[in-house]
Symmetry: C2
């Protein structure tokens, strides 16, 4: 990276997890069991299996009881909903996470139906409409993990938000919209851009805080970034084209050498050249990703404590 300060999400995630450990232990001492997270994983998507394993490991290391329900790709919607009902009603389950994406075979609208079925008090992803509404109203107990992680990062890195202009590129339910709402709640002036935005670089380059959450590798180039701005890179794209990696990261470069070892690279939405102009920048990997998992663990503890308050 160039001159931009590197915002080390992985290190902050480790700090957050370490802060959770004694709180989780206290919960366990008080309640007689650890906070319990149930993860539902349907089908064979390799990336999903890796993500779930990472969540499982991070949760266990923090002292949570993590149960992974691995269901075959042939699982019916009814069977999946029956499992959700069972977990909703189980006193031994505090938090439910259904890993996205669900297999296409479950049919259109399956994800929405499943997320809607989760008990809002156990909804650690914060996707249930009730939780989304409470987020808008500034009184959410469970905020979506990725945007909550970004806010936590800005706070701990002492990057001011109030009165600053934040531009969010992307308007997904999972990142873009809740990110915009959380920044607005912290008194930023907030602009949401997307695929229909005209003259995106001109708008993005007004941002004091630029959040890229579109899932297009290296899309955000220098012309999108005001000198000195804080740039948060939420995107992760898998890139299998060596020429692209060479062009973006240089030849020779560490990233290209890594690519040659693995045959693939994980690349953010932000072009590496942005490090030359940004004031601070989250790397990919090692930026927002680990924070998302840390916030999931934190939400699990919050859900468990809330159920007992």
């Amino acid at each position: 990276m160039g001159k931009a300060r590197r915002l080390d999400g992985a290190a902050l995630a480790a700090t957050i997890r370490a802060e959770l450990v004694p709180k989780v232990a206290q919960f366990r001492a008080r309640v007689g069991r650890p906070p319990a997270l149930d993860i539902v994983l349907v089908g064979d998507d390799p990336a999903s299996h890796i993500y779930v394993r990472n969540k499982e490991r991070a949760g266990s290391e923090t002292g949570l009881a993590v149960t992974v329900h691995r269901l075959p790709a042939t699982t019916t919607r009814d069977a999946l909903l029956a499992l959700i009902t069972q977990l909703n009603e189980s006193a031994g389950c505090d938090a439910i996470l259904v890993q996205s994406p669900l297999p296409g075979a479950l049919g259109r609208g399956a994800a929405q139906q499943v997320f809607d079925a989760i008990n809002p008090q156990k909804d650690v992803d914060g996707f249930h409409p009730q939780n989304v509404g409470l987020l808008v109203q500034g009184r959410a107990t469970l905020s979506p993990c990725t945007p909550a992680g970004v806010v936590e990062l800005l706070r701990r890195e002492s990057i001011p938000v109030a009165g600053r202009h934040a531009v969010v590129i992307g308007r997904s339910e999972i990142v873009g919209k809740p990110m915009a709402l959380l920044l607005l709640q912290r008194d930023a002036t907030v602009t949401v851009c997307h695929s229909k935005t005209v003259n995106l670089p001109a708008i993005a380059s007004q941002a004091d805080i630029l959040v890229a959450a579109i899932g297009r590798a290296a899309f955000v180039t220098k012309e999108f970034v005001k000198p000195g701005a804080t740039v948060v890179d939420v995107g992760t794209s898998r890139v299998d084209d060596r020429a692209l990696v060479a062009r973006w990261f240089g030849d020779p470069s560490q990233r290209l050498a890594d690519f040659d070892k693995k045959g693939t690279a994980v690349v953010g939405d932000v072009h590496p050249e942005v490090a030359e102009v940004a004031g601070a920048l989250t790397p990919v990997p090692g930026g927002v990703g680990p924070l998302t998992i840390a916030m999931l663990l934190k939400n699990t503890l919050i859900a468990a404590e809330h159920a007992r308050s």
Copy 2:
């Protein structure tokens, strides 16, 4: 007004109400009774009594059954919640509106508790967190009346929204936030500004569509407005200072003459001089206000039909 096209909300509201009449009659023929709106009005606020009377009249003229529950200012929170429960359970009530503001004597958090208690399917104001969440997710059945009215106005006046830059000044739960979300859903690039925004005129004057919803009389002056922009004025402030009315509207002027008759004037957030630069502008009064009521009647029919679908 100057050269800006006048966006006649009152006329559009009359059109919407006229369109509702046969649909309401069809509902009545099918169900054996008209769609039923219950309005709860607590206390003696004179403005609230006028608003409720206007809603009652407009509803009755459209063929709805409107019942106003007028409760004394001494009503307890429990009594109010008991009425909400009764209306929630009543098969003869399709839609519930609790007029804001509630008397301060009900205590902090009363409004939130009461809005949360309303059955989301009867929540024609769209304030329940479940409905707010569905709005964010682009699948609301009941959208808040004022922003829904603004969207309807833009649509019927053929003012393009997709790809345009919309700036919303104000971030209330009732107008600012849902307005931003509805414009985003219609593919606008959306910026939300508020009291903490730095250099507000510079940001507002980028807007193709500028929505002012702050409740500060004549706050939005020419410097906030890009020439040719569409300006939507949601604010209504009561002004009792003759000198201000004379300064804003001119002396002599029709508005000043009206003031001298009534001793007060209703003034929007947008300064009259904006008519000289805007391309189109909603007046106050006669702009967004009547649309809000028309959308309330429409939401009542939607709620009634939805309960039977």
